[in-house]
Amino acid sequence: MTSNPAIAANTRPWRDPDAKPFISIQHVTKRFGDFTAVNDVSLDIFRGELFCLLGGSGCGKSTLLRMLAGFETPTEGKILIDGVDLAGTPPDRRPTNMMFQSYALFPHMSVEKNVAYGLLREGKSKAEAMSHAAEMLKLVKLEKFARRKPHQLSGGQRQRVALARALAKQPKVLLLDEPLGALDKKLREETQFELIRIQETLGVTFIVVTHDQDEAMTLATRIGVMTEGVIEQVGEPREIYETPKSRFVADFIGSVNLFEGRVGPAAPDLMRVETEDLGPVVAPPVAGLTQGQTIWLAMRPERAWLTRERPAESVNCVPGVVQDMGYVGHMSSYMVKLANGRLVRVTQANEGRRDNPISWDEQVHVSFEPADFRVLTE
């Protein structure tokens, strides 16, 4: 099973220090005049990965993608795909294809001609290109719409045509710019799994740019979180969520409560932290911290639990009042006001029907395990 290291290394090449990266971005910087869009980014992506570049607008993720496609030239650094330096290679000669955010379907061509366009440019015969286009349309379940024009399709169908067109040339790398951005929520969730299915069927390496953390978490084998032209952290979705490296990543992925504190006197197997909001608490030990150093404790809302009575065995526990609550079905979300006025977000899973759920204005205790704190220094 996954405990077998050989298999684990196979499916997760980034864990193997000897694995050869398929795409290698080396110290790439892109400046537009005075503005630095991408700042000294180095990144290795492996064959068959579904890599997500995640970040807010203007963080440089799209610029990085456009440099891979060849629409922008790096100011410094180089990009290698399959060992070949792509500097000076125009977009039409690159082993990459791109799916555009606007889909960019050619409005004057039918769906099948859109899909066949790249194949015809490759020098394939018309019959060959058309039959391959028909296959691609089958893959995205649009074979019935081959003769329609793009403006006669719905948003979701257009998205699939764009995907089929970008995949038709069997690129080594498929670049997707906000592939699901224009779809409504329900369709987006269905399409996420569809994308994964297609990626696994074809085995093409995908690089997806998105601002939607849920999308990145669902799709990605690994995520690169970007801000201000820099990659803050690269890791598997679970890694990014459970062990964020900085306050930015912790805050950007999911919701989080951040508490500022100072490292207390050393103790074996645990670390005492003096915080203003929670008082003295116990956190997991982190090597290399000195007493009195300022740190931040990140705590996910679903890791805390709420009780009316103070639990006997809990190590970290603070009293508070429920100021606000929201019922979302599978869970409830609470805002608990602590004694000093600080609000803490806590979510509780709604398992089974509880007769007497905690509600507004109740006196409660918020408890958390030491291991549920993530200690951040950046």
């Binding site: 496609a69 977009p91 039409d92 294809n97 606007s102 050619f106 409005p107 004057h108 790249g118 067109r165």
Partner: protein, 267 residues
Amino acid sequence: MRRGWFLPIVATFGFCFLYAPIVSLVIFSFNESRLVTVWGGFSTRWYGELLADGQMLAAAWISLKVGVLAASIATVIGTLAAFVLTRFGKFRGKLLLTGMVTAPLVMPEVIIGLSLLLLFVAMELVLGWPAGRGLTTVVIAHATFTSAYVAVIAQSRLRDMDESLEEAARDLGAGPVRVFFDITLPVIAPALVSGWLLAFTLSLDDLVIASFVSGPGASTLPMVIFSKVRLGVSPDVNALATIIIVIVAVAVTIAGLLLMRQSKKTG
């Protein structure tokens, strides 16, 4: 909702102001009487006389040739100018070129006509071409001033066009020239057709510039009409004017419809 009386009255007044002269011209083109201002009953006599008028027909043929040639040249030049201005990013002298492309729109026709005449005379002296003034010089002059109109229309269409369409074609393996003919041109084609039609009607209309640069044997229709009218308005001119109005109206309507259809279908 009550609209009140003000708007309908203003609208009626406006329409009368614009179209009463044209309507009266169309009505009087069917006048039996030789006197332009006296109604003598309905007749298509002047249309018949017009068709028998060799000078008039020759001028109409020249105008048609000039219009088609000038509009075609203007469409090519205007499209290229628009493409350079919208797609080449920033370059030295871009602002100057932008200004100069649109200058003929506001330049008085007399000045355009005069300057072109001087240019043609100088060119003939230095290069020996164009030999004398005639059809060629009128075509060049009309292509020059109408290409500004085409450039403006093509420019706005190119600016509206999603540039990722062109990038997508590049990405799928087409070179820049291929992209222009495969993607850009078909997408902006309706705008170019309406630009061509506009250039054609402008050329058909023009009297001032043609009078400057035309020579013997190359009198355009407006020139012939104008010289006739100076000797007094004859009813067959009314008939001719009516025909021109119909042609222009049809061309402008098609141009408008094409532009409207395209703005609905965003590409």
